[in-house]
């Protein structure tokens, strides 16, 4: 079966620093893929290239077979015009570490702004859809609150509803719980877990190893701009993983044990 997302030989540099040195991977429909790796290993950059928030220098990204961000012409590869880019971006929703809700819009308005402005959906219809999505993420009583009145966990759930409002084929999460107080992480992970159960295709950059282990079908370990290891959680967290992968995951497990150990001791 054709993969939903197919990345081939992706390269991306910032100035002289090459951050992605040839990334190739495929994401199947209904698959949940995790990206893990040390800080600065290029996880965010890879995710942002998929959504064309960063423009890669070489390689290709295909969404259901369609080249993302570019079009091949007889005179070479050309950047797509804004309208085409907009259409492609709506097929891939993005959820940011810092939520990035618009502070001058209520929760509901944040959710329906895109559909109204970009797709021209009638406001009444959009509101109905927006309310349903906020109910889905458990925020039916915070519909008219401005972001500043919401907790971090609530803001991130609004951001997920905003992503769902695009009716995307895939959702890209960039460390969705890293900016949250520990007690608020669970409510956001629950929403993501529910989406996984519904069969939503997702890529999740995360430092929550336990969550990745539980929810992801496959995990990619990035280091030095390359995919060092890729496979189901049992492989990545198991004994057959590569040495760098083992070292990386062990550090997380150690820290986890130290914390739980301290709590019990």
């Amino acid at each position: 079966m054709e993969p939903l997302l197919a990345i081939e030989g992706l390269h991306k540099s910032f100035g002289l620093i090459e951050v992605l040195k040839g990334i190739s991977l495929q994401v199947q429909r209904r698959e949940v893929m995790g990206f893990i790796g040390a800080s600065g290993s290029g996880k965010s950059t890879l995710l942002r290239c998929i959504n064309m928030l960063e423009v890669p220098e070489a390689g290709s990204i295909r969404l259901a077979g369609e080249l993302v961000g570019f079009r091949d012409t007889p005179r070479g590869r050309r950047l797509l015009p804004p309208r085409e880019l907009s259409r492609q971006r709506r097929r891939m929703a993005m959820v940011f570490q810092q939520f990035n809700l618009w502070p001058h819009r209520t929760a509901l308005e944040n959710v329906i702004e895109g559909p109204i402005v970009v797709q021209g959906i009638a406001p009444a219809k959009a509101r109905e859809m927006g309310e349903a999505l906020l109910r889905k993420v458990g925020l039916e009583d915070r519909v008219h609150a401005y972001p500043s009145r919401l907790s971090g966990g609530q803001q991130q759930r609004v951001a997920i509803a905003r992503a769902l409002a695009l009716q995307p084929e895939i959702i890209l999460f960039d460390e969705p719980t890293s900016a949250l107080d520990p007690e608020l992480v669970g409510e956001v992970l629950k929403v993501i877990r529910d989406l996984a159960d519904e069969g939503m295709t997702m890529i999740i950059v995360t430092h929550e190893m336990g969550f990745a282990h539980e929810v992801c079908d496959r995990i990619v370990f990035l280091a030095d701009g390359r995919i060092q290891d890729m496979g189901p959680p049992a492989h990545i967290f198991g004994a057959e993983a590569g040495p760098r992968t083992r070292e990386f995951t062990r550090r997380y497990l150690d820290r986890h044990q130290i914390i739980t150990g301290a709590a019990h001791g």
Partner: protein, 226 residues
């Protein structure tokens, strides 16, 4: 000073009320035109200063820095006397004052616009792109509304300065409030009453502006930022 027996006499002011009324009208139209042209020019300058092209950015930056450094009075007088010599172009005093004060304030408006536009978190614009907004949609729906909230207080301060700077037009004989006040005090030997009146007029013009801005600002803060 120190003469407690000074006899205040505001009757002369009342006798000259028509002159004051005309002067107020003139000052207000001078200020309004200066704010209009200053903002339009300032917006253009701020966009040029944020251009990715060095050849565009650099002259705009130099121009803004130059205008900010020159004392506004020098600009008014210089344009009044030098423009005719340099370009053979002579303009009436009022138009000259509008030109000079617009140029001067445009540099400050430009800096306010630039700071306001650049203060918007890039993540909010990326969120707009990610839901499919084009650059101009993101500008209209996200950047401009948020930037204008932030720019309101400095814009009002700048408008207040424009109103005050209209007094400089008197140096090239534009019949604004201060200029007429000086004429009247010469004729009536009542400089203290006249200057007091001028001060009160400026107060009455300016205080509502700043109060209005404060009301709007605190409304915005309560509504969006708890």
């Amino acid at each position: 000073m120190g003469d407690a027996a000074y006899q205040w006499d505001f009757q002369v002011i009342w006798d000259y009320r028509d002159v004051f009324a005309r002067a107020i009208g003139l000052t207000l139209s001078l200020a309004a035109l200066t704010i209009l042209f200053g903002m339009v020019l300032g917006l253009v300058l701020s966009l040029l200063r944020m251009s990715p092209l060095k050849v565009v950015r650099w002259p705009a930056t130099a121009w803004v820095e130059l205008l900010r450094a020159v004392p506004p009075l020098v600009l008014v007088v210089w344009i009044y006397y030098c423009l005719p010599i340099l370009l053979g172009l002579s303009m009436p005093a009022f138009q000259t004052a509008v030109l000079a004060l617009s140029l001067y304030s445009s540099a400050f408006f430009a800096e306010i616009f630039r700071a306001g536009l650049q203060s918007i978190d890039r993540g909010l614009v990326e969120a707009a792109s990610s839901v499919g907004m084009t650059r101009s949609q993101a500008l209209r729906r996200v950047v401009l509304p948020l930037a204008s909230q932030r720019m309101l207080p400095p814009l009002v301060s700048q408008c207040v300065l424009v109103v005050k700077n209209t007094a400089l037009a008197g140096y090239i004989a534009v019949a604004d409030i201060l200029y007429q006040g000086q004429q009247i005090s010469v004729q009536t030997f009542r400089p203290l009453e006249v200057l007091t009146t001028v001060a009160v007029i400026f107060l009455v013009l300016i205080v509502p502006m700043t109060m209005g801005a404060n009301v709007i600002e605190s409304h915005i803060r309560r509504k969006y930022y708890r």
